[in-house]
């Protein structure tokens, strides 16, 4: 369960993050975790516990205050918040964003002025300067993978929420990332559309993609995850195999949190 840093794709040590405006929610205190290649990790916890901030720090949409992040061979470290971000650090942050794919919470993250296939091709064309035919070929393959080949030339405004999120996954995959991050990818969807999105993530898992998912879909977390991380108040409280965490949580905060889900059909023994 505990991965050694050398054997891990992702290494995070003493990651700290707080905000200028003094907001309590989303603060991170000394997060350390290692994640192996091919793992599917679910991140759960009450709102404001720092799950989203953790993802945003990991792909450098937020710059960490202090700590160490390594994804593959891209490293980023900062001694303290007083250390001014230098050229080298910003460069590493940019490389990190290229290596890490991200899917956002709402389904409005697709670019509305581009068709679905143009959305998927844009990253490779602009960032990697991939030749157009090659980018298109990749995009078509990815559309097939997420089951959207018939919608390639539609504009995002005509897609359903589930279709949008699958297109967003394909768009992130087009950059051939080392890891995929999902920030509550299904929370804005109608219940009947959730399954199709989760299925894509399960398929990716079976292909060996490393994925970190912030989610409230407890059933999915329990069934599909290699392990689950429970966060509260900016700290990792507990992480364990899904079945173990749900049936026999060690920490009282975990128990308290999971109690909220007993009424929703989840079998939790507390």
């Amino acid at each position: 369960m505990v991965n050694l840093p050398e054997a891990s794709l992702i290494v995070i040590e003493n990651l700290c993050k707080s905000f200028d405006d003094g907001a309590e929610a989303g603060v991170l205190n000394n997060i350390s975790i290692n994640i192996k290649e091919g793992d599917l990790v679910s991140l759960i916890g009450p709102s404001g516990c720092g799950k989203s901030t953790f993802l945003r720090c990991l792909n450098c949409l937020e710059l960490l205050d202090s700590g160490y992040i390594r994804v593959g061979d891209v490293e980023l470290s900062r001694k303290s918040v007083t250390q001014k971000p230098d050229e080298r650090m910003l460069d590493a942050a940019h490389k990190m964003r290229v290596e890490v794919g991200m899917v956002f919470q709402g389904y409005n993250s697709l670019f509305p002025h581009k068709t679905v296939i143009q959305n998927i091709m844009l990253g490779p064309l602009v960032v990697k300067k991939t030749p157009e035919p090659e980018a298109r070929e990749t995009a078509v393959k990815l559309l097939k993978k997420v089951g959207l080949e018939s919608l390639a030339n539609k504009y995002p405004s005509t897609l359903s929420g589930g279709e949008s999120q699958r297109a967003a996954i394909a768009r992130a995959l087009a950059m051939n990332p080392k890891v995929m991050l999902y920030d509550e990818p299904t929370s804005a969807l109608d219940p009947e559309l959730v399954g199709e999105v989760l299925q894509v993530m399960k398929d990716l898992d079976s292909e060996g993609m490393t994925q970190i998912i912030v989610t409230h879909e407890m059933q999915f977390a329990r069934d599909a995850s290699d392990y689950i991380v429970f966060m509260d108040k900016g700290e990792i409280v507990e992480f364990d195999d899904g079945d173990v965490l749900f049936t026999n949580p060690k920490n009282s905060r975990t128990k308290e949190f999971l109690r909220h889900f007993t009424g929703t059909g989840m079998a939790v023994n507390c």
Binding site: M102, F104, V127, Y155, T158
Partner: protein
């Protein structure tokens, strides 16, 4: 064929240079206001491009005596003296009265005409027969004129000032004013033939008209004085005044010339003929058609100034918006201050400042560029706000999604944000252009003859503010229409993309749900 063309070109070139060559002593650049009014100077009713009037005749004779070519520079009457100081022209002549205030700013030649103020009332008015009777009444006169001063000194008079004299007599006739006090020549030409208006009371005060020259230009002043003495003594001035019906006992005394008239009042008669109330429809229509070339030229100028100003506004506005959104704090603050300043002060003041004020610090722009730049930077402030709103109309997720794909800030801006923001700002920017087209009328105050100035000239000349007004409004509408159409087209395109290529405008959901209470 080619050789023929070239020789034609050379010929044309010589023809263009010829007038300059014929006058040995160069050009006599004189400033006046083509809207300054009859009988001083005004567009010819038969040919609106030609300026006529007794002062035009005087300048011609004066220039001929000096061996110079008269070159007319148009400027608003209010600004004639500032324009002289700014060096737009060498002399100013357009009913400029010799007053202590004026004499502080410029030097005056010896007078070329002397007259008085004439009080006018409606035909049926009984209780006003002298200046003193004006107390407690509403009296109209020309803005910043001697008459205004006289009325204000009288006290207890409700003085209404006008820029266009014809409007004053129109308001007198329709009852908005109780009386009108004007220089006698204006009174004669405005109302001398109007059956609804009568002149009352003795001559009031003394008005002296002279040519204005800058304090520095003493040499020219001497030459102008020589010229006026010559014109007076040779009887040429008397002839001009006779033709225009402006010879009076006061002038007889001034010039010590009590002889009977030698020429007919041809110019006055022609004027009066054209202004006796009610022309036939045919004549009226023919007159409107004859206005078209003048309006056409003016419309082109309006369009040119507007388009140039809009290009400046779009580019400079973008710079301002980028400074406000992306630049370091102090630059952003300066841009904000600039935007608020430009939006918070009147455009007219800004134009005056640029045209008349900046030469004091060595920046002299020609009227076209002063107008275009003035309008342009004023509108830039508004465009900047539209761009800013456009940028902030884009959701943060779009920015983050682009960055998360590994784009740099600039790539995200170029590929994701700006194309979307552009779609948002097209309709309001087009809208602003239509607004700018109308605001361009303010350039008429800095010597440009745009549509509004042309309207003032032609309406004043023909005493027809109604028909000419409809005509100019229609011209503004027509040149604005293509931009209205473009705005609609852009809006429709936007709606099409949102509906995935389905044709048709955005659905008006307010109307379709109207059946609900």
């Amino acid at each position: 064929m080619r050789r023929f063309l070239i020789s034609m070109l050379v010929l044309a070139l010589f023809a263009a240079l010829a007038p300059a060559a014929s006058a040995d002593n160069g050009a006599l650049r004189w400033g006046g206001d083509s809207e300054g009014g009859f009988p001083y100077m005004f567009p010819n009713q038969q040919n609106a491009d030609e300026l006529i009037g007794f002062e035009v005749d005087i300048v011609k004779e004066l220039a001929a005596y000096l061996g110079m070519t008269p070159e007319y520079i148009n400027n608003a009457w209010d600004n004639l003296i500032p324009g002289l100081e700014r060096g737009l022209y060498d002399i100013a002549i357009n009913g400029l009265e010799v007053t202590p205030e004026h004499e502080e700013m410029v030097n005056f030649s010896i007078p070329y005409y002397k007259t008085f103020l004439q009080l006018a009332v409606r035909r049926e008015t009984q209780d006003i027969s002298s200046l003193d009777d004006c107390r407690g009444k509403v009296v109209g006169t020309l803005k910043e004129s001697y008459a205004q001063m006289v009325l204000e000194e009288l006290g207890d008079v409700d003085v209404r000032t006008y820029i266009v004299e014809a409007n004053t007599y129109e308001d007198l006739a329709n009852g908005r004013l109780d009386a009108a006090l004007f220089d006698a020549p204006i009174a004669i030409y405005s109302a001398g033939f109007n059956p609804e208006i009568k002149f009352v009371g003795p001559p009031i005060g003394e008005i002296i008209y002279a040519v204005a020259v800058t304090k520095e230009n003493r040499e020219l002043l001497t030459k102008v004085n020589e010229g006026i003495v010559y014109l007076r003594d040779s009887g040429k001035l008397r002839e001009i005044y006779d033709r225009w019906g402006l010879w009076s006992p006061i002038m007889a005394a001034e010039f010590n010339d009590y002889s009977p008239r030698k020429v007919e009042m041809t110019n006055y008669d022609e004027w009066a003929e054209n202004h006796r109330p009610e022309l036939t429809l045919d004549k009226k229509l023919a007159r409107y058609v004859s206005m078209l070339p003048t309006f056409g030229e003016a419309a082109i100028l309006t369009l040119k100034v507007s388009v140039t100003a809009m290009v400046i506004a779009i580019v400079f506005g973008l710079i301002l918006a980028i400074a406000r959104v992306f630049a370091p704090k102090w630059i952003a603050l300066a841009a904000t201050a600039f935007v608020e300043f430009m939006r918070g002060t009147p455009l007219l003041i800004q134009l005056f400042f640029i045209f008349y004020g900046l030469p004091n610090v060595g920046v002299t722009l020609n009227p076209f560029w002063a107008g275009a730049i003035g309008l342009g930077i004023n509108y830039a402030a508004y465009e900047a706000e539209i761009y800013r709103a456009g940028l902030f109309a884009i959701q943060q997720t779009q920015w983050e999604a682009a960055l998360a794909l590994g784009m740099t800030r600039w790539q995200a801006m170029r590929e994701v944000i700006l194309p979307q923001a552009f779609r948002v700002v097209i309709p309001p920017i087009t809208n602003d252009f239509i607004s700018l087209l109308k605001d361009s009328s303010l350039v008429s105050t800095i010597t440009l003859v745009d549509l509004t100035k042309a309207y003032g000239q032609l309406a004043g000349t023909y005493y027809d503010y109604f028909g000419t007004g409809i005509m100019v409004a229609f011209i503004y509408l027509v040149i604005g229409l293509p931009f209205v159409a473009f705005s609609r087209y852009a809006e429709r395109r936007l709606a099409e993309q949102d509906k995935d290529g389905k044709k048709g405008a955005a659905q008006n959901f307010y109307r379709t749900s109207a059946r609900w209470r």
